[in-house]
């Protein structure tokens, strides 16, 4: 309780455990309390948010990593030279 009062911005990790009492989360700032009320209060929405977040994160992370690799190895990979050998 006390920790949550001191650090009202801590929503991502501690909110579910610590800030369960209603009088505490009312004090939270705008975005954090919206996120908490919309997503974290019900297990169904919370689970859904985790699954959707995982999907979005992984797609973004993979795209960025692959772009780093592809730009570093520009012109060396098979996909850069295969147009020379493909006959249509």
């Amino acid at each position: 309780m006390l920790a949550c009062e001191l650090n009202p911005w801590q929503i991502s990790l501690g909110s579910l455990v610590v800030c369960s009492a209603p009088e505490i989360y009312i004090k939270m700032a705008g975005i954090a309390s919206t996120v908490y009320n919309v997503i974290c209060r019900r297990s169904s929405t919370f689970a859904l948010a985790i699954i959707a977040g995982t999907f979005v994160f992984e797609r973004t992370f993979d795209t960025i990593s692959n772009q780093i690799f592809d730009s570093y190895n520009k012109g060396k990979q098979w996909k850069d030279i295969k147009h020379k050998y493909e006959k249509e």
Binding site: N73, Q77, K82
Partner: protein
Amino acid sequence: MAASLGRVCGSGLLKASNGALFNQVSTFSTARDWAKGRKTLLACLGVATGGAGALVYALESSVKAEGVELHAPNYAWDFYGHLSSFDHASLRRGWEVYKNVCSSCHSLKYVAFRELIGVTHTEAEVKEMAAEYEIKDGPNDQGEYYMRPGKPSDYVPSPYPNEEAARAANNGAYPPDLTYIVNARHNGENYIFSLLTGYCDPPAGVVLMDGQYYNPYFPGGAIGMAQVIYDEVLDFEDGTPATASQVAKDVVSFLTWASNPEFDTRKRWFIKAVGIFTLLLTVTYYMKRHRWSTIKSRKIVFAPKK
């Protein structure tokens, strides 16, 4: 610096009487009750063992000139580096070199044609290429073995049916399979490049048998393989000038791929692993600071009763 030292050592560094701790520890030692002679003996034994080990190590590492073969220098391969992929145009030329030069003696029996698809050749090219080979298949419904044109799922045919045939055709020397040769030799790609380009006349005093050639990079110097990589030993399909070093570089790149077909994927995953572990480390560090914040920021006050 002082701040981080202070963080590592806590306030221990600032204490004046830190040496007292050491004395306290030594009173708990099991060696405290030993007789003086026993302590001396053990100390001497320890020094002697350590000294002998150091002597053996010094002797081992000081004598380096026992071998007669040259050690290959490290070349600046374009696939060296944490993020670098293979140069696939080079791999494609390397396959040409293997097919036109190496394959008359060396097998590549653990590589299937289909593995070249998307690496050096298109699917149509691989189908066409495989069909040029005659593959033994069977038995058919008559119980007989027969020859058929190759398919992408076939493995690259070997020049000899077995090791004995290979030895018989090569003066008793066995041309090794090249699939994993880069991983199977110390300093693989550099050694093979140096070997291919390092043929020279034998120095005075080195006697070679019939069918042996001199190569300073080969252990012992006498190698059963003649020099095969020369300038213009073949014409590259993409018009790259076929100098000896270019040919050797391309075939070694190709053989490095054959030994490590997962190479490019591994490099790709390196980026992802570094990224994800950086993220996890940050989160872990934050959590640690968070969990410890109550302990780090508390103050214990001694308030005596009045």
